[in-house]
């Protein structure tokens, strides 16, 4: 690796800094900070790992797939650490809970939510695997084509049929449990 005063070194640092800033911004955009991931920590870790890779293999090709893998593994590690932190007991004045998508809810509503979540879990578990996976991916926000690619379904149209039938079945089961009607 060239010396820090070398223009090549400076240019590589500049590139990694710009990329790190982009990673940090996207972590917040896609809500990973709400899962206990610190975007600044991940940005720094990604830059360090990429820099080490550049130093380690100076003549090797630097592929986009490798860069993506570095980001993926860094975020997965950060999620794992966040999970460990969440499992640790916290001070009483700070409940440390991570709120997702919605504003903080009152205790009674939280109890209702927990009951509904348990019901949803049970209903999903009762659905055959062939339909359960496409439904779960759909509920996580993946498109029909993405569902087809991920679940090994021949086409987006086939995925649409599986998701549609599966959702009807899921809603029916939820109704039978007395949980009312749900939107997709």
């Amino acid at each position: 690796m060239p010396s820090p005063s070398d223009p090549i070194h400076a240019r590589l640092e500049e590139l990694l800094a710009a990329y790190g800033a982009r990673v940090k911004a996207l972590l917040s955009t896609y809500g990973l900070d709400k899962h206990g991931v610190d975007p600044a920590d991940v940005e720094q870790e990604v830059r360090i790992r990429l820099w080490h890779a550049l130093e380690r293999d100076r003549s090797g090709a630097f592929h986009a797939s490798y860069v993506q893998r570095v980001v993926a593994s860094t975020v997965i590690d950060a999620l794992r650490r966040a999970q460990v932190r969440a499992a640790e007991p916290l001070p009483e004045e700070d409940d440390g809970s991570i709120e997702l998508d919605v504003a903080p809810v009152a205790p009674d509503r939280r109890a209702v939510d927990l009951e509904r979540m348990q019901g949803l879990r049970q209903c999903l578990d009762e659905i055959p695997e062939r339909r359960r996976l496409p439904i779960a991916l759909h509920l996580q926000g993946f498109s029909l084509q993405e569902i087809a690619d991920l679940a090994g379904i021949p086409s987006a149209e086939a995925a649409r049929k599986l998701v549609s039938r599966g959702l009807e079945e899921l809603k029916q089961r939820l109704r039978e449990r007395g949980m009312g009607d749900f939107e997709d």
């Binding site: 896609y30 986009a64 949803l120 509920l139 926000g141 939107e183």
Partner: protein
């Protein structure tokens, strides 16, 4: 006549109802994401990327990765983020390759420049050296030529003083036939034919 304002309010009400439903977690998607918010699976980054990019991977690891996407809101968010980052990663990789290839090219250019400079200096230097060697060689040849002429002169002068050895009377092969002459000159006669048999031939 429809009043845009009223229509706007109607739409706003409908949007409000939709948001209220979401707040009440009557949306399956919201409820499912809340349910899977804290679920973090131990997933392999390679397998996750292989599943997202449609690359072949170990079946068990790939299945685990896809199930992690389905059952963990965090991993699903990570997948979407990686999709958005793909173009930036490709740009970074291309830029790094460009910077890295520019470095050896520059070094090579500098090396070529240095070599060319040396060649520029070496050519006149070699020419000068050749010239010097040529001048020296010519000088040596002339000197040798002059020296040879003087030697010839000296040799011709010396030949006058010395007798011809080939036909000189000192020739030992025919010396026996000239015994008398050599006796006269003080040279020893041929001993083979000069043995004295008078004392019994011993």
């Amino acid at each position: 006549m429809k009043i845009f304002g009223a229509a706007g309010f109607e739409e706003s009400d409908s949007e409000f109802d939709s948001k209220t439903n979401a707040m009440n977690t009557k949306s399956l998607s919201h409820l499912h994401r809340r349910m899977t918010a804290d679920a973090v699976r131990d997933v392999d980054a390679d397998a996750l990327l292989a599943a997202l990019e449609g690359r072949p991977a170990d079946a068990a690891r790939r299945t685990a990765a896809v199930e992690a996407l389905a059952d963990s809101a965090a991993h699903a968010d990570l997948a979407r983020m990686l999709g958005a980052l793909q173009a930036d990663s490709e740009t970074l990789a291309a830029d790094v390759r460009r910077v890295r290839t520019a470095m050896p090219a520059r070094v090579q250019r500098e090396r070529r420049h240095g070599h060319a400079s040396r060649v520029r200096w070496a050519a006149p230097l070699a020419a000068c050296m050749t010239l010097v060697v040529a001048v020296f060689a010519i000088h040596e040849r002339d000197a040798r030529h002059h020296a040879g002429a003087w030697n010839d002169v000296a040799a011709s002068t010396h030949s006058v003083a010395q007798p011809d050895r080939i036909f000189s009377t000192r020739d030992e092969i025919f010396s026996s036939s000239e015994e008398g002459v050599r006796h006269a000159g003080g040279t020893l006669p041929d001993e083979v034919f000069r043995s004295d048999f008078s004392e019994g031939g011993s």
